[in-house]
Protein backbone atom coordinates (compact mmCIF):
# COMPACT_ATOMS: atom_id res chain seq x y z
CA UNK A 1 0.00 0.00 0.00
CA UNK A 2 2.82 2.36 0.86
CA UNK A 3 4.17 1.72 -2.65
CA UNK A 4 0.96 2.85 -4.29
CA UNK A 5 0.80 5.85 -2.01
CA UNK A 6 4.38 6.71 -2.92
CA UNK A 7 3.60 6.43 -6.59
CA UNK A 8 0.63 8.77 -6.28
CA UNK A 9 2.61 11.11 -4.09
CA UNK A 10 5.32 11.41 -6.71
CA UNK A 11 2.74 11.96 -9.43
CA UNK A 12 1.15 14.84 -7.55
CA UNK A 13 4.53 16.24 -6.56
CA UNK A 14 5.51 16.45 -10.20
CA UNK A 15 2.25 17.79 -11.60
CA UNK A 16 1.50 20.28 -8.86
CA UNK A 17 1.75 24.00 -9.45
CA UNK A 18 0.86 25.94 -6.39
CA UNK A 19 -1.33 28.68 -7.74
CA UNK A 20 0.01 32.18 -7.41
CA UNK A 21 -2.90 34.56 -7.44
CA UNK A 22 -1.33 37.38 -5.56
CA UNK A 23 -0.18 40.69 -6.90
CA UNK A 24 -0.76 44.40 -7.11
CA UNK A 25 -4.44 45.09 -7.37
CA UNK A 26 -5.70 48.03 -9.40
CA UNK A 27 -8.89 49.60 -10.62
CA UNK A 28 -8.74 51.06 -14.11
CA UNK A 29 -10.56 54.32 -14.83
CA UNK A 30 -13.76 54.21 -16.89
CA UNK A 31 -13.32 54.34 -20.66
CA UNK A 32 -12.66 57.81 -22.08
CA UNK A 33 -15.79 59.54 -23.29
CA UNK A 34 -16.00 61.45 -26.53
CA UNK A 35 -16.72 64.73 -24.83
CA UNK A 36 -14.25 65.11 -22.06
CA UNK A 37 -14.08 68.01 -19.73
CA UNK A 38 -10.72 69.25 -18.72
CA UNK A 39 -10.37 68.97 -15.01
CA UNK A 40 -8.18 71.66 -13.56
CA UNK A 41 -5.77 70.30 -11.00
CA UNK A 42 -3.49 72.57 -9.13
CA UNK A 43 0.14 71.84 -9.77
CA UNK A 44 1.06 71.43 -6.12
CA UNK A 45 -1.62 68.78 -5.57
CA UNK A 46 0.10 66.47 -7.98
CA UNK A 47 3.11 64.29 -7.25
CA UNK A 48 4.69 63.57 -10.60
CA UNK A 49 6.66 60.43 -11.26
CA UNK A 50 7.95 59.80 -14.75
CA UNK A 51 9.93 56.88 -16.10
CA UNK A 52 11.51 56.95 -19.55
CA UNK A 53 12.26 54.19 -22.03
CA UNK A 54 15.63 53.40 -20.43
CA UNK A 55 13.96 53.00 -17.01
CA UNK A 56 15.41 56.26 -15.63
CA UNK A 57 13.29 58.03 -13.07
CA UNK A 58 12.16 61.64 -12.80
CA UNK A 59 10.40 62.64 -9.59
CA UNK A 60 8.78 66.09 -9.48
CA UNK A 61 11.08 67.09 -12.33
CA UNK A 62 14.30 65.93 -10.70
CA UNK A 63 16.23 62.83 -11.72
CA UNK A 64 16.38 60.18 -9.00
CA UNK A 65 18.72 57.23 -8.85
CA UNK A 66 18.16 55.93 -5.35
CA UNK A 67 14.51 55.01 -4.87
CA UNK A 68 14.77 54.05 -1.20
CA UNK A 69 13.43 57.43 -0.05
CA UNK A 70 10.63 57.70 -2.59
CA UNK A 71 8.00 56.02 -0.44
CA UNK A 72 8.61 58.46 2.41
CA UNK A 73 8.43 61.37 -0.03
CA UNK A 74 5.05 60.20 -1.30
CA UNK A 75 3.74 59.78 2.23
CA UNK A 76 4.95 63.22 3.19
CA UNK A 77 3.29 64.64 0.09
CA UNK A 78 -0.09 63.01 0.79
CA UNK A 79 -0.18 63.86 4.49
CA UNK A 80 1.04 67.43 4.03
CA UNK A 81 -2.40 68.97 4.76
CA UNK A 82 -1.40 72.41 3.52
CA UNK A 83 1.73 72.84 5.64
CA UNK A 84 4.11 73.15 2.74
CA UNK A 85 2.70 75.18 -0.19
CA UNK A 86 4.57 73.06 -2.72
CA UNK A 87 2.79 69.91 -1.57
CA UNK A 88 -0.84 68.75 -1.42
CA UNK A 89 -3.59 70.77 0.28
CA UNK A 90 -5.28 67.69 1.72
CA UNK A 91 -5.14 63.92 1.26
CA UNK A 92 -8.43 64.09 -0.68
CA UNK A 93 -6.89 66.41 -3.24
CA UNK A 94 -3.53 64.69 -3.48
CA UNK A 95 -2.94 62.83 -6.71
CA UNK A 96 0.06 60.69 -7.51
CA UNK A 97 0.62 60.89 -11.24
CA UNK A 98 2.64 58.05 -12.70
CA UNK A 99 3.68 58.26 -16.30
CA UNK A 100 5.79 55.75 -18.16
CA UNK A 101 7.04 55.31 -21.68
CA UNK A 102 6.03 52.53 -24.06
CA UNK A 103 9.59 51.26 -23.75
CA UNK A 104 9.63 51.06 -19.95
CA UNK A 105 10.04 47.48 -18.76
CA UNK A 106 7.36 45.86 -16.68
CA UNK A 107 9.86 45.18 -13.91
CA UNK A 108 10.49 48.90 -13.41
CA UNK A 109 6.80 49.71 -13.68
CA UNK A 110 5.96 47.25 -10.90
CA UNK A 111 8.86 48.43 -8.74
CA UNK A 112 7.57 52.01 -8.68
CA UNK A 113 3.88 51.08 -8.49
CA UNK A 114 4.75 48.93 -5.50
CA UNK A 115 6.26 51.96 -3.76
CA UNK A 116 3.24 54.16 -4.51
CA UNK A 117 0.77 51.58 -3.26
CA UNK A 118 3.05 50.89 -0.31
CA UNK A 119 2.90 54.55 0.70
CA UNK A 120 -0.90 54.47 0.68
CA UNK A 121 -1.15 51.15 2.50
CA UNK A 122 1.24 52.44 5.16
CA UNK A 123 -0.99 55.45 5.72
CA UNK A 124 -4.13 53.29 5.83
CA UNK A 125 -2.56 50.82 8.21
CA UNK A 126 -1.49 53.60 10.53
CA UNK A 127 -4.96 55.14 10.56
CA UNK A 128 -6.57 51.81 11.26
CA UNK A 129 -3.99 50.99 13.92
CA UNK A 130 -2.85 47.72 12.37
CA UNK A 131 0.25 46.61 10.53
CA UNK A 132 0.55 47.10 6.80
CA UNK A 133 0.33 43.35 6.18
CA UNK A 134 -2.76 43.01 8.35
CA UNK A 135 -4.46 45.85 6.52
CA UNK A 136 -3.82 44.30 3.13
CA UNK A 137 -5.15 40.98 4.35
CA UNK A 138 -8.27 42.70 5.64
CA UNK A 139 -8.72 44.54 2.36
CA UNK A 140 -8.59 41.27 0.45
CA UNK A 141 -11.54 39.82 2.33
CA UNK A 142 -14.18 42.47 2.89
CA UNK A 143 -17.00 40.00 3.46
CA UNK A 144 -15.95 39.78 7.08
CA UNK A 145 -17.41 42.75 9.02
CA UNK A 146 -14.30 43.05 11.23
CA UNK A 147 -12.15 43.40 8.11
CA UNK A 148 -14.61 45.85 6.60
CA UNK A 149 -14.28 48.01 9.71
CA UNK A 150 -10.48 48.04 9.51
CA UNK A 151 -10.69 48.83 5.82
CA UNK A 152 -13.13 51.71 6.22
CA UNK A 153 -11.26 53.15 9.17
CA UNK A 154 -7.98 53.04 7.29
CA UNK A 155 -9.25 54.58 4.12
CA UNK A 156 -11.27 57.34 5.75
CA UNK A 157 -10.39 60.67 4.17
CA UNK A 158 -7.50 59.33 2.10
CA UNK A 159 -8.64 58.02 -1.27
CA UNK A 160 -6.02 56.19 -3.28
CA UNK A 161 -5.68 58.49 -6.24
CA UNK A 162 -3.02 57.14 -8.49
CA UNK A 163 -3.25 58.30 -12.05
CA UNK A 164 -1.46 56.10 -14.54
CA UNK A 165 -1.17 58.11 -17.69
CA UNK A 166 -1.10 56.80 -21.22
CA UNK A 167 2.57 56.07 -21.96
CA UNK A 168 4.62 58.31 -24.21
CA UNK A 169 5.96 56.88 -27.45
CA UNK A 170 9.72 57.33 -27.45
CA UNK A 171 10.91 53.75 -27.08
CA UNK A 172 8.88 50.82 -28.24
Amino acid sequence: MADIAFLMLIFFLVTTTIANDRGLSMQLPPPPEAKQEDVKIQEHNMFKIQVNSSDALLVEGNPMQDISGLKEDIKKFILNRGNDPTMSDSPEKAIVSYKTDRGTTHRRFIEILDLIQGAYYDIYAEQAGVTNKKFREAASDLADPANRQIYDKGRAGVPMQVSIAEPTKVGN
Partner: protein, 155 residues
Protein backbone atom coordinates in the same frame (compact mmCIF):
# COMPACT_ATOMS: atom_id res chain seq x y z
CA UNK B 1 41.19 -1.41 29.93
CA UNK B 2 38.12 -3.46 30.16
CA UNK B 3 36.31 -0.29 30.90
CA UNK B 4 36.51 0.82 27.27
CA UNK B 5 36.08 -2.54 25.65
CA UNK B 6 32.40 -2.73 25.98
CA UNK B 7 30.64 -1.23 23.04
CA UNK B 8 27.12 -0.17 23.54
CA UNK B 9 24.70 -2.12 21.43
CA UNK B 10 22.62 0.40 19.59
CA UNK B 11 19.68 -0.55 17.51
CA UNK B 12 20.06 1.14 14.17
CA UNK B 13 16.74 0.48 12.47
CA UNK B 14 14.43 3.40 11.95
CA UNK B 15 10.91 2.39 12.84
CA UNK B 16 8.96 2.31 9.59
CA UNK B 17 5.54 1.49 10.90
CA UNK B 18 4.43 5.10 10.67
CA UNK B 19 5.77 5.61 7.17
CA UNK B 20 2.47 4.98 5.37
CA UNK B 21 0.84 7.58 7.60
CA UNK B 22 3.42 10.18 6.70
CA UNK B 23 3.25 9.33 3.03
CA UNK B 24 -0.53 9.49 3.01
CA UNK B 25 -0.47 12.81 4.75
CA UNK B 26 1.87 14.24 2.13
CA UNK B 27 -0.19 12.65 -0.60
CA UNK B 28 -3.37 14.29 0.63
CA UNK B 29 -1.62 17.63 0.96
CA UNK B 30 -0.50 17.57 -2.64
CA UNK B 31 -3.82 16.21 -3.85
CA UNK B 32 -5.64 19.09 -2.24
CA UNK B 33 -3.27 21.87 -3.28
CA UNK B 34 -2.65 20.65 -6.78
CA UNK B 35 -4.27 22.38 -9.67
CA UNK B 36 -4.02 20.76 -13.02
CA UNK B 37 -3.20 23.32 -15.61
CA UNK B 38 -5.49 23.35 -18.59
CA UNK B 39 -3.45 25.73 -20.70
CA UNK B 40 0.17 25.45 -21.72
CA UNK B 41 1.86 28.82 -21.40
CA UNK B 42 3.72 29.76 -24.55
CA UNK B 43 5.24 33.03 -23.38
CA UNK B 44 8.11 33.74 -21.03
CA UNK B 45 6.95 34.18 -17.45
CA UNK B 46 9.58 35.75 -15.25
CA UNK B 47 7.20 37.36 -12.81
CA UNK B 48 8.41 40.58 -11.11
CA UNK B 49 8.71 40.96 -7.36
CA UNK B 50 6.82 43.36 -5.14
CA UNK B 51 6.03 43.84 -1.47
CA UNK B 52 2.49 45.25 -1.33
CA UNK B 53 0.69 42.13 -2.43
CA UNK B 54 -3.03 41.63 -2.27
CA UNK B 55 -4.73 38.30 -2.46
CA UNK B 56 -7.77 37.65 -4.56
CA UNK B 57 -10.66 36.50 -2.47
CA UNK B 58 -12.65 34.59 -5.06
CA UNK B 59 -10.81 32.57 -7.60
CA UNK B 60 -13.83 31.86 -9.76
CA UNK B 61 -13.93 35.55 -10.73
CA UNK B 62 -10.35 35.61 -11.95
CA UNK B 63 -9.26 35.14 -15.50
CA UNK B 64 -5.67 35.20 -16.71
CA UNK B 65 -3.88 36.98 -19.50
CA UNK B 66 -0.26 36.10 -20.14
CA UNK B 67 2.06 38.63 -21.71
CA UNK B 68 5.68 38.11 -22.66
CA UNK B 69 8.16 37.13 -25.31
CA UNK B 70 7.07 33.89 -27.05
CA UNK B 71 9.02 30.81 -26.03
CA UNK B 72 9.33 29.72 -29.65
CA UNK B 73 11.05 32.82 -30.95
CA UNK B 74 11.95 31.28 -34.32
CA UNK B 75 8.26 30.74 -34.99
CA UNK B 76 6.59 33.77 -33.44
CA UNK B 77 9.35 36.40 -33.31
CA UNK B 78 10.78 38.25 -30.36
CA UNK B 79 8.04 40.82 -29.84
CA UNK B 80 6.01 40.34 -26.67
CA UNK B 81 2.68 38.68 -27.30
CA UNK B 82 -0.59 38.31 -25.42
CA UNK B 83 -1.81 34.83 -24.66
CA UNK B 84 -5.39 34.19 -23.63
CA UNK B 85 -6.39 30.62 -22.89
CA UNK B 86 -4.45 28.65 -25.50
CA UNK B 87 -3.97 31.16 -28.27
CA UNK B 88 -2.12 34.36 -29.00
CA UNK B 89 -4.47 37.29 -29.41
CA UNK B 90 -4.11 40.88 -30.58
CA UNK B 91 -5.16 43.82 -28.41
CA UNK B 92 -8.22 44.38 -30.60
CA UNK B 93 -9.52 40.90 -29.77
CA UNK B 94 -9.58 41.60 -26.07
CA UNK B 95 -13.09 43.07 -25.89
CA UNK B 96 -14.49 39.93 -27.48
CA UNK B 97 -12.43 37.74 -25.19
CA UNK B 98 -13.58 39.63 -22.07
CA UNK B 99 -17.21 39.28 -23.09
CA UNK B 100 -16.74 35.57 -23.57
CA UNK B 101 -15.21 35.32 -20.11
CA UNK B 102 -18.08 37.31 -18.64
CA UNK B 103 -20.58 34.94 -20.23
CA UNK B 104 -19.10 32.13 -18.19
CA UNK B 105 -20.00 33.88 -14.95
CA UNK B 106 -23.38 34.25 -13.30
CA UNK B 107 -25.17 37.40 -14.34
CA UNK B 108 -24.86 39.13 -10.98
CA UNK B 109 -21.12 38.61 -10.86
CA UNK B 110 -20.19 39.78 -14.32
CA UNK B 111 -19.05 43.21 -13.22
CA UNK B 112 -16.75 41.67 -10.63
CA UNK B 113 -14.58 39.91 -13.17
CA UNK B 114 -10.92 40.41 -12.33
CA UNK B 115 -8.28 40.12 -15.01
CA UNK B 116 -4.95 38.90 -13.69
CA UNK B 117 -2.13 40.09 -15.90
CA UNK B 118 0.80 37.71 -15.74
CA UNK B 119 3.45 39.80 -17.35
CA UNK B 120 7.06 38.96 -17.95
CA UNK B 121 9.72 41.19 -16.38
CA UNK B 122 11.13 42.25 -19.72
CA UNK B 123 7.84 43.01 -21.45
CA UNK B 124 7.43 46.65 -22.40
CA UNK B 125 4.83 49.04 -21.02
CA UNK B 126 3.51 49.74 -24.52
CA UNK B 127 1.76 46.43 -25.06
CA UNK B 128 0.43 46.39 -21.49
CA UNK B 129 -1.02 49.88 -21.92
CA UNK B 130 -2.76 48.71 -25.11
CA UNK B 131 -4.26 45.81 -23.19
CA UNK B 132 -5.36 48.11 -20.39
CA UNK B 133 -7.10 50.55 -22.72
CA UNK B 134 -8.98 47.65 -24.34
CA UNK B 135 -9.96 46.33 -20.91
CA UNK B 136 -11.33 49.77 -20.06
CA UNK B 137 -13.43 49.71 -23.21
CA UNK B 138 -14.62 46.19 -22.39
CA UNK B 139 -15.56 47.41 -18.92
CA UNK B 140 -13.40 44.88 -17.12
CA UNK B 141 -11.72 47.41 -14.92
CA UNK B 142 -10.56 45.29 -12.02
CA UNK B 143 -7.06 44.14 -12.76
CA UNK B 144 -4.21 42.57 -10.88
CA UNK B 145 -0.56 42.57 -11.87
CA UNK B 146 0.69 39.20 -10.73
CA UNK B 147 3.86 39.47 -8.67
CA UNK B 148 5.97 37.35 -6.38
CA UNK B 149 6.53 38.29 -2.78
CA UNK B 150 9.72 40.19 -2.10
CA UNK B 151 11.26 40.20 1.34
CA UNK B 152 10.71 43.60 2.84
CA UNK B 153 13.81 45.23 4.26
CA UNK B 154 13.12 46.32 7.79
CA UNK B 155 15.08 49.31 8.87
Amino acid sequence: MSKFKKKAVVKQDIPTSSMPDVVFMLLFFFMVTTELRETAIDVQQRIPEATQLRKLARKSLVTNLYIGEPKKTEQFGKEAKIQADDVFIEPKDIILWVNRQKDLLAEAERDQLTVALKVDNEAKRGIIADVESELRKANARKILYNTMAKKEIIR
